[in-house]
Point group: C2
Chain length 261, copies 2
């Protein structure tokens, strides 16, 4: 057993993406790295898992000096396979996911495969981080963020994060000015406004492409959208207890409980 931290790496763009290569190279400076990642892109998979279908998992020599596996499963499946099959009883010190090619700020956290791997890590009790670059290009420039990926992962290893929390870290795209710093934020109040492009296949059957416009309703300066727009790295601590606690009392008061009995 190594005394270096054991770091599990996954992502949702697939094991051959540029973002995971950058992440693996940074993590090698901090500990022993094991990769379990999807064998193909899984963007938009949310917290999907594979039920009622079989899973593949194969070792792949793709990163220098790093044990790596590709799986047919979702990002959440990959973390489960890593814990219960690949690593078995070994203690994981950090789960990192990404670096995603594209933003996962605000409401996108719900749809994000990158963050589902991190949240799955948090569910297992491991400190976990999802990293995303707000640049959708497969050839995106990650050079300005490597230093921050290292520093943030080191903070988590050295100082920890609250139990059951996964960090949603987003980086501004490469701009002319340097990144201004790091902000701990709340999730911005925003949504995707979809548009469906209607087309016809060669057999005359209708099909659709979904496209979306991001609509930001949030005027605050303490949220992740503000941070990215102003060239800061945003970190939103995320939890997996979805209970809207404020609604419990309100519903107990507002509803007619005689009618419900």
């Amino acid at each position: 057993m190594s005394e270096r931290p054991l770091i599990l790496v996954s992502n949702d763009d697939g094991i051959t993406s540029k973002g995971i290569r950058v992440l693996v190279n940074v993590m090698k400076k901090l500990g022993e790295v094991i990769v379990v990642a999807p064998d193909s892109p899984q963007s938009g998979m949310g917290h999907a898992i594979t039920i009622g279908e079989t899973l593949r998992l194969e070792e792949e020599e793709i990163f220098d000096d790093v044990q790596a596996y590709k799986s047919s499963g979702t990002p959440a499946d990959c973390v489960k396979l890593a814990k219960h099959y690949v690593l078995k009883d070994r203690k994981v010190d950090l789960v990192v996911s990404g670096i995603n090619h594209g933003s996962n700020t605000s409401i996108s956290v719900l749809y994000s495969g990158t963050m589902s791997a991190a949240i799955e890590g948090a569910l297992e009790g491991y400190p976990s981080i999802g990293f995303s670059l707000c640049d959708y290009s497969s050839k995106a420039d990650f050079s300005h963020v490597e230093e921050y990926v290292y520093k943030i992962a080191k903070q988590v290893l050295d100082h920890g994060i609250p139990k059951g929390v996964a960090l949603n870290v987003n980086f501004p795209p490469k701009r002319n000015e340097d990144i201004k710093g790091v902000k701990i934020c709340r999730q911005a109040h925003a949504k995707w406004q979809e548009e469906f492009s209607e087309r016809f296949d060669p057999n005359g059957r209708k099909y659709f492409w979904m496209a979306g416009n991001f609509v930001n309703f949030d005027k605050g300066e303490d949220n992740d959208e503000w941070a990215i727009a102003n060239n800061y790295v945003s970190i939103v601590p995320c939890q997996y207890d979805l209970t809207a606690h404020h609604a419990i009392n309100q519903m107990n008061e507002d509803w007619n409980w005689e009618e419900l009995s």
Copy 2:
């Protein structure tokens, strides 16, 4: 335009499942029903959406006197298609999803396609409910829950729920004793402990089946697991802001911010 409430129905077990048929029949007593549901089972899809692939949507005469569409998409896709393509500018009064064949209590809410449709409805500003029966059989007996589906949907139509909240409603399986009543609950603290069954295909290549055991850590009596175990209907109000607000101050205090600058 009808003056009856407009109710959108979706699910994750697919448009031909028994659970959605029961739900449609109950909703017809409360308003005008439109169905947009997956054309095949989508269990465990979490909040997945279809990006980078095309979507199909076709009208299907499957329910008496109800306009219904089946889609190749996920439950979240179905709600988006309903809002932006099928219903366009019509005001939706209620989104209901289910009735799921199987429990969506506690942490299962993260993996649940049923609840992703309801949460997508809440994101659009509509009162939304996901219904699940804690019985996985495709022929499950829903006779003891129809009355509660009606009453709960009626409460939501009459008294509303807080904005941005989706209700996660679970029903106990049919037992010898009657359901005791309805409880507003918090999400129980529990997790799935996976096991991977390793097998070999006819070509000698390894594959896996994922199986899980549910592990409940929660000793409280105010959570959904307790309610179901004690023969109550559980209602957890769920929100889509994942921010762990308590962690923001803690990280600002615990981390070494000089090292991060």
